[in-house]
Symmetry: D2
Subunit: 315 residues, 4 copies
């Protein structure tokens, strides 16, 4: 029996598209749609599925609060894979419906927000309705006697619900994307590939200023680049934040290992979320420091040197 | 005629409570509830009202996306005041309803999330329903033939809708709070009070690493503390962020003025959102640098010294 | 009557060569040799001469203590020019003396140290004697009945004392150089040339750690590069240092002016020693920060922007 | 036979006093005076003596160039002890000479410089003569038919040469001190005492800016304080420096070991000069960073944590 994977449903969402991209050969029957991000995490924790796929951040909307809340304070799981899915919206209708026939359009509020310009230009007279997901909109349109003429949904939803694509690529930001992660139960990490990402949550100590700069310097001094930095409230009152970080590299790398130990020492708490192959490229906005002297070989050589000088072998 | 103020409605929300706290003597008739954060901003821009109050961040949920989106990319307005409102939830019912009678409870999804523990312990058998705001829940309960027995809402909602408080303070986090800001059209800034806050959005230049540390250093070197740092996607693709910052002090302060000029020079863009009296206290988590030599008098003395040495008067 | 200049004598030293390089057309009669660096400073202070030339640092020996002591704690003067003179040594003798005849060689101890290799290879059997300056050695050789057969001295000494060059370029480090500075009484600074150097002494505040990093950051944040950093004891006990710094740029530059004001605010004391045209190039080993946003125009634009936002003109 | 120790002679110098302080019970016969710092190093290297004592820095004059040159570029030796000796000067004469009889005073130039004020006030009419060391001055005064009436020398010189102290403590800076180090051949390091000092020379890579700040940050991030930072020319041309550093702690300490490995990776070269018990206290002027999370126990705990997360044990 193949592995089973939970995902944020219903069927036909961008999350299902992400899961298919991560498990290209898997049978559809092994995919388990869940209602809500928390349900996906729960299914993984319970052992009901091998892994679960959820959205982490969108290039327009930012971090997905439900996912981040689980990563920050839920029972720990590991991220073992990620994938970035372009957020392309399609206007779907039942067969036989033309663009001119569309008077009532359903979709998810975020999708509506991201297609507002196109809708204003091409469907200025139509009414818009928001429902719980883009897939739910597609499903509603597909039903006999549907209250809507068309749905704005992910490309994958058409096939799923037997709808016809009236217009593709109607998003106002053609380069919009969402990053999805797959969660698994704690266990051996994916092997380093040379192009990895490591995700963390760092809780700063409250009792001294400069904590954020200290934190960034722990990475900078070892030449570790950051690609994501997202502050989130800790829940302990206004002005108290933790930081969700993605660093370039694998925890098995010497430089990243040393940086994490530094974080561990200066932070109130550090949550390790996983090291996994990096999908796509993003801007590396920190640090300002060594690009030289940071390979595993550099660390190894320096460690041997330290052993020698600790024995007084300096000649 | 008194000034009129828009706020995120409907009547009876936490936002109305915030507005009342900012304008304690104003007649209720001068308060204009709006549907949606964007409508509040629009009412201020159009001149229909003098100012508008919206939530900015919650100590549990984090930044309010709709507000932050307006601050980052909407037509510029200024923040001229802030207030932090404790997020205390009350269980309201019609007169004559007892706790034991409550079988159907309505509220906003965030409120439900924040009262989940209490509800599980005391209303384990009741059904819960989510509606568009806590005030809408209260309003629905107040109507004859209401489909709900009780509403979880802000304390202010009881008076507004003629309901009875069954239980107060049912939130799981008794110290939860939301910070609200008042937006006005560009014009003279509030005078410095000695305890001010300055809000900014900084867009990093993409083309060089270390940009975030550089940014923090611009504050650190002048001894300016930060109290909020929130990354938001710029919308230009995954991994591209801008930073919403709150610094301690007023733009009229020498040290803050110099820091802002530094930001202006190194960033792709900087949006100034306002300098205004600081409500409450929060953790100052950066920088790690001078607490000495940072008063207006220090800056003035140093400027006079520079003038002298530029004239060669060193003796 | 032309300006008169004091220099570290006697005639025929590298310092005289430096003075000639700075005042190429001046008559020899206007050059006043002094015995000792302190005498040069005294001659300038008294008004007896317009300026005085002294060595500041040598690429092999480091800073010249007597000069640095005057800069750190003497009555203030300004540096208005610098010149780097290659330290090339010549073996001089009276006419008729051949290399094989040289049995007794005189020179200054530093010169001997810098020619040790050549002397060992070519004059292995000769005796060496050290005197108070290379010029004094040349003078001694030139006298009738001289106790020495040859002198190691600056190329300029041959002409001065009527000696013959036996071998040129006998220094072990052919690229050795000494930097000389000209001191003048306080007054208008040399105009910026676009390639200037500014010299300072910074006395750190004792009472807080991190003072040196703070100091370097004051330059780094404004994109000002340092080319010299020399620690010197303050004289107040072991472990207490001041720092002699050379920064790239002129105090009239906006970025350097702002950095100096920052230094003034955080240091116990700052001595400004002068801004003057930079001779030659040297390694710029700090900072790690902005190369962008640091021109006078950038500062001017940022200042105008700050004025606007202080007036609330953000639209 | 007891260990023998070389020192910078002649007998009766401050260096002999330093050696006595380091070896309080050793017989005088085991002390070998050398002419010149280089001779002391040579005696240690050759195995002729067990160790050699030389001055490293003076609180008024700064680093001792001959010693620093050996540390930077001589055949490597280890520092295994240090001692700080107060620089107190005594005016010595032959028995029967009174202060009023003193017309000719001999001493070393540095000593004369450090007693200039006292001499001007009390011996304004006397002639002063400089010789090669304070001990040589004392020796000269002690001889029959001496050309001098008095010598300014270290307190130890009186006993050595049978002179009478006319006036003690005549230095202008009563708190002046010199730090001496003892050099030994490479071998096992002194055990950590909890109050140690580690000496290094760091040669920066030329090819990138910010190298000095990077270097300081390697210490700062691990919470290692520096107590001495002295730049010296590398000899490769003006503007090229190496840095002689003293860090607080022992190379056996986890935090210092990690900092040294960092230095090794980013520098062109690092010379380890020794870890040894720290004599006296000095100002710790860097870094600005963690005082928490820097004990050996903190490092050990963090290393165990890293092992766990590398195995995926996060639950």
């Amino acid at each position: 029996m193949p592995n089973r994977y939970a995902y944020l449903g219903p069927e036909g969402t961008f999350t299902e598209a992400a899961l298919r991209a991560l498990e290209p050969g898997a049978p559809a029957a092994s995919f388990v749609p869940c209602t809500g991000v928390d349900a996906v995490f729960a299914a993984v924790r319970s052992g009901e599925v091998e892994g679960g796929v959820v959205p982490l951040e969108n290039s327009v909307e930012g971090g997905v609060p439900a996912t981040i809340a689980e990563l920050i304070s839920g029972e720990p799981l590991l991220i073992d894979a990620e994938v970035a899915v372009p957020v392309q919206f399609t206007l779907f209708a039942r067969e036989g419906t033309g663009l001119a026939d569309v008077k009532r359009v359903a979709t998810h509020p975020h999708a509506l927000a991201q297609c507002r310009g196109w809708v204003a230009r091409h469907l200025g007279d139509a009414e818009t309705f928001t429902v719980s997901s883009t897939a739910a909109a597609a499903q509603a349109v597909a039903e006999p006697g549907a209250p809507y003429d068309a749905a704005i949904a992910a490309p994958i939803a058409g096939e799923r619900y037997g709808l016809t694509a009236l217009v593709e690529g109607i998003g106002d930001r053609p380069d919009a994307a969402t990053r999805f992660i797959r969660m698994v139960r704690p266990g051996p990490l994916p092997a380093p590939t040379g192009a990895d990402r490591t995700s963390l949550v760092a809780f700063l100590s409250d009792d001294h200023p400069g904590a954020l700069v200290e934190l960034l310097n722990q990475f900078a001094v070892r030449g570790v680049n950051l690609v994501r930095l997202e502050s989130r409230p800790t829940g302990d009152g206004l002005g108290r934040y933790c930081f969700c970080l993605d660093a370039v590299g694998h925890v098995a790398d010497a430089r990243l290992g040393e940086a994490l130990m530094g974080l561990r020492r200066i932070c109130k708490d550090v949550r390790f979320l996983g090291s996994y192959p990096r999908a796509g490229s993003d801007t590396e906005f920190t640090p300002f420091m060594p690009s030289h002297g940071t390979t595993n070989a550099d660390f190894h050589e320096a460690a041997l040197w330290l052993e020698r000088i600790r024995r007084g072998e300096i000649a």
